[in-house]
């Protein structure tokens, strides 16, 4: 009798495990659970100085850039089975372009703006888009491998940013410029959360309301077949790189606003790795094709949760990457097909053993 009940529970668990969102959620919950055990204060949210304060809020806030990048990266990986490794550098370039146009060329610190703030911000985002156009052209028209094509801007974009800022850190000491990366007065929620939500919403609507998602998957799975049935494969690939560039632009502005400056050497440093990892943690195949945007976003916050946890536990900044790497290896290995079949075989074996004992 009880074994029947047990069977039902196992059956239910199996169904849950098979759901495509299971692993991303599982990983995130695992990380949060460790926190709960280690530091019970982890989940408390207070209001200090009129704004929300707490580790969870911190994860949501600090994870914004990775989440925004992950959105673009998901599409690029899905459509071209390759990664855009330039996003971190493009973030930096966008930030530099924005700050340079707000402060004026050669100015290292300013209290007044040379042009309206919104123009500077849009210019920065546009700069990201232009980088996307460049990458997209190389990949879709010239058929250069994505990793190689984006390697160009990976190295060049940061240097161009430095040039734009005349080799110095440009500070924008203008209060509203800090809003995007911090708080808008009177609103207790970090602004970057709204920005992230906005980006996700726009892309999600684009995918839901048009057939773009279907096109991207088709091109990612079989480019030749997609072309023959009437999809302009190279246009779709191009578009995905442009979207990815725009996302990098937005992330760059947020990162710049946090420190109200354009620090060409540090903004977005190694963020491309986190973005790619977020896509992988989200259960997306690096071979392209079907994708799961929600998974990538959860993956992004998982990465941020790991980082925050490590800092909370007092792991030093130098050693944090090592611990992070170990955790990531574990999570990625869990998702590997080899492990999946191994688990499946194990459970099969278990079953046949049960049968034998019943027979005997």
């Amino acid at each position: 009798m009880s074994s029947q009940k047990w069977g039902a529970v196992v059956g239910f668990l199996k169904r849950v495990v098979k759901m495509k969102m299971f692993l991303p959620f599982f990983c995130l919950i695992l990380v949060l659970l460790i926190n709960l055990i280690k530091s019970p204060g982890f989940f408390s949210i207070d209001i200090k100085n009129g704004v929300l304060f707490g580790r969870l809020i911190d994860i949501l806030n600090r994870g914004s850039e990775i989440a925004i990048l992950a959105v673009g990266q998901t599409l690029v990986i899905a459509v071209s089975a390759g990664t855009d490794i330039s996003v971190g550098s493009v973030m930096s370039l966008s930030a530099c372009f924005c700050c340079m146009s707000l402060a004026g060329y050669g100015v290292s610190s300013t209290n007044t703006l040379a042009i309206p703030m919104i123009l500077g911000i849009l210019g920065g985002i546009l700069m990201g888009g232009i980088c996307g156009v460049f990458n997209g052209t190389l990949v879709s028209k010239l058929k250069i491998q994505p990793m190689v094509a984006t390697l160009i801007l990976f190295t060049a974009a940061r240097a161009i940013g430095l040039l734009l800022c005349n080799n110095q850190i440009t500070y924008i000491r203008y209060e509203p410029y800090k809003y995007l990366g911090n708080f808008i007065p009177g609103c207790p929620i970090p602004t970057s959360i709204f920005v992230t939500a906005g980006v996700i919403l726009v892309v999600a609507i684009l995918l839901k309301k048009t057939s773009l998602g279907l096109y991207i998957q088709s091109v990612g799975i079989n480019k030749r077949a997609a072309r023959l049935l009437g999809i302009n494969s190279s246009k779709i690939i191009f578009l995905c790189y442009v979207i990815c560039g725009l996302c990098a632009g937005v992330a760059g502005i947020v990162a710049s606003s946090r420190i109200y400056s354009a620090d060409a050497n540090n903004i977005g440093l190694t963020f491309e790795l986190d973005a790619i990892l977020a896509v992988a943690l989200g259960g997306n195949s690096m071979a392209g094709g079907k994708f799961n945007l929600a998974g990538s976003i959860i993956g992004a916050y998982t990465i941020q949760a790991i980082t925050t946890t490590l800092f909370a536990m007092g792991v030093s900044t130098d050693q944090a990457p090592v611990v992070k790497a170990i955790i990531v290896i574990l999570i990625v290995a869990l998702q590997a097909p080899v492990f999946k079949t191994w688990f499946a075989n194990r459970s099969l074996k278990g079953k046949s053993q049960v049968k034998e004992t019943v027979g005997a």
Binding site: S211, L214, Q217, I221, N222, A225, A226, L229, G230, N232
Partner: protein, 504 residues
């Protein structure tokens, strides 16, 4: 040697999520026999083979192989190969980016004394091997440069060259012409004499009667019986496969509408693509079904690809309903009312991970444009109606199309083009791998659409099928259109036109 049992599979069952693919199936293969494995699309033939060779694990049953006392289980195709079971799978799975010679000898390359691959020897052996099959290709070229039929022949050549006790051929003849088929049969008979047991899957009844000794029939994943070919007349075999009688294939005859429509639907003048097809003229009337025929590599596929704009024509003009059409990409052709079903369903047709529904509606969606998404309800309706019309055997309409059997995948791609309802439809080997029951219905469907005004270009390596549906045929030879057959068409007339008439 007769009646010496080589391989038995007993009571084999295999379940995929939601589908019982095999239910207590048995097959016995004797030494020196060619054993046909027959059944409708989705009956479980390929699954049985994959279970045998270790591609899929099975839940119940046992496999016994001559020379082993205990029942065997192959965990991987390589293990099966080591035990002497060599297989050519339904979907050609060679490496398209390797050379023909590399594909033939991958995993068993001839080595020099120093342990390096002996390229010269490998190329020489490859040439000899292919020569025996009368295949004329450059073995150092990469495989993807060659047509599906050549690739299929290479896969067969690779298999027959390996020492084996049992050879398993899953629809090896699906894209071969009569000529290649007869070469394959010579080879198979030769192996039979050497005592090799051959399992042969095909949907062509005449091939069964030409080479096979025994038949095992599967129906809906169940064993429907084992017979000797002698005791199994054609109609009885069909009835056993379907579980019911079917109308005779020959009862359909092209009615065409030659007399009542003179409206030219599509006209090409001097259309050509460098390197694949020399400039040709072509026209088709509204409601006409025109065949394109020719030997393997004669340029049939290249001609229709050029018409469709899949390969950009460098010379000539194409007029669609009187208007000049300059297609830069297939989408332009689709928008002007064309459709093209490619012959290589795996490389050019299927979007494998997407669902049956998505695969069916994709071309229609592409024609509508990215911003005009077909409402889901409409998609469901379309998918359901075609699943029913073409008897597509699928668990649900949301099943990934890669999980369907080969023939059912073909039906899905057919449905994709039928649902765009084009004015001009090009079908390159549309019935490849489709069972006889559905084939008849499909031919009727084409004739029905034609009578409603659709113009159809039809390519098939099965001449009879074209004779049944076409009112006119273009003959291709060596990448050139060499003539047309009009009026009286018989198998002999077409065959001699293909071969080059007086020259042979």
């Amino acid at each position: 040697m007769e009646d010496q049992i080589l391989l038995t599979m007993r009571g084999v069952s295999k379940t995929f999520p939601g589908v019982k693919a095999l239910d207590n199936v048995s097959i016995t293969l004797r030494k020196g026999e060619i054993h046909a494995l027959m059944g409708e699309n989705g009956a479980g033939k390929s699954t049985l083979i994959k279970v045998l060779t270790g591609v899929h694990a099975f839940e119940e049953g046992e496999i016994r192989l001559d020379g082993f006392d205990e029942p065997i289980i192959n965990h991987t195709p390589i293990e099966a190969q080591k035990r002497g079971i060599v297989t050519v799978y339904q979907e050609v799975n060679l490496c398209p980016n390797l050379s023909v010679a590399e594909n033939l000898f991958i995993g068993r390359e001839p080595k020099t004394k120093l342990g390096y691959i002996d390229w010269r020897k490998m190329n020489k052996l490859s040439r000899e091997l292919l020569k025996r099959l009368d295949i004329d290709v450059d073995v150092t070229q990469t495989l993807e440069n060659y047509s599906l039929a050549i690739q299929q022949m290479v896969a067969i050549a690779r298999a027959v060259d390996m020492d084996c006790k049992a050879l398993i051929l899953d629809e090896p003849t699906s894209s071969l012409d009569e000529n290649e088929v007869s070469k394959l049969f010579v080879l198979m008979r030769h192996l039979r004499e050497k005592g090799v047991g051959i399992i042969f899957v095909t949907h062509f009844l005449e091939q069964v009667y030409a080479v096979c000794d025994r038949i095992t029939v599967l129906r809906n994943g169940e064993f429907a019986g084992e017979y000797t070919v002698a005791e199994m007349p054609r109609f009885k075999l069909v009835a056993t496969m379907l579980g019911k009688d079917v109308d005779d294939l020959d009862s359909i005859k092209p009615e065409g509408c030659e007399s009542n429509c003179d409206e030219i639907a599509v006209e090409a003048v001097g259309l050509g693509h460098k390197g694949t097809i020399k400039p040709f003229d072509f026209h088709i009337r509204k409601g006409e079904v025109v065949g394109v025929t020719g030997l393997l590599g004669s340029g049939r596929t290249e001609m229709v690809r050029c018409l469709y704009g899949a390969d950009h024509a460098q010379s000539g003009t194409l007029k669609m309903k009187g208007k000049v059409l300059k297609a830069k990409a297939p989408i332009d052709s689709i928008k002007s009312g064309m459709g093209y079903l490619p012959d290589d369903r795996k490389a050019d047709g299927l979007i494998s991970e997407l669902s049956v529904r998505e695969n069916i509606v994709l071309a229609l969606q592409a024609r509508q444009g990215v911003f005009k998404t077909l409402p889901l309800a409409k998609q469901y309706e379309l998918a359901d109606s075609f699943i029913e019309m073409l008897h597509i055997k699928t668990a649900t309409r949301e099943t990934p199309v890669s999980q369907l059997s080969g023939g059912n995948q073909q039906k899905v791609i057919l449905a994709r083009w039928l649902c765009t309802h084009p004015d001009f439809l090009i079908l390159d080997e549309p019935t490849r791998g489709i069972d006889i029951g559905t084939k008849t219905e499909f031919q009727k469907l084409i004739l029905k659409f034609a009578s409603e005004g659709m113009s159809v270009v039809f390519i098939s390596s099965e001449i009879e099928e074209m004779l049944r549906t076409c009112t006119r045929m273009c003959v291709m030879r060596d990448g050139e259109k060499v003539g047309e057959i009009d009026g009286e068409m018989t198998q002999e007339i077409v065959m001699s036109a293909i071969a080059g008439g007086e020259e042979k």
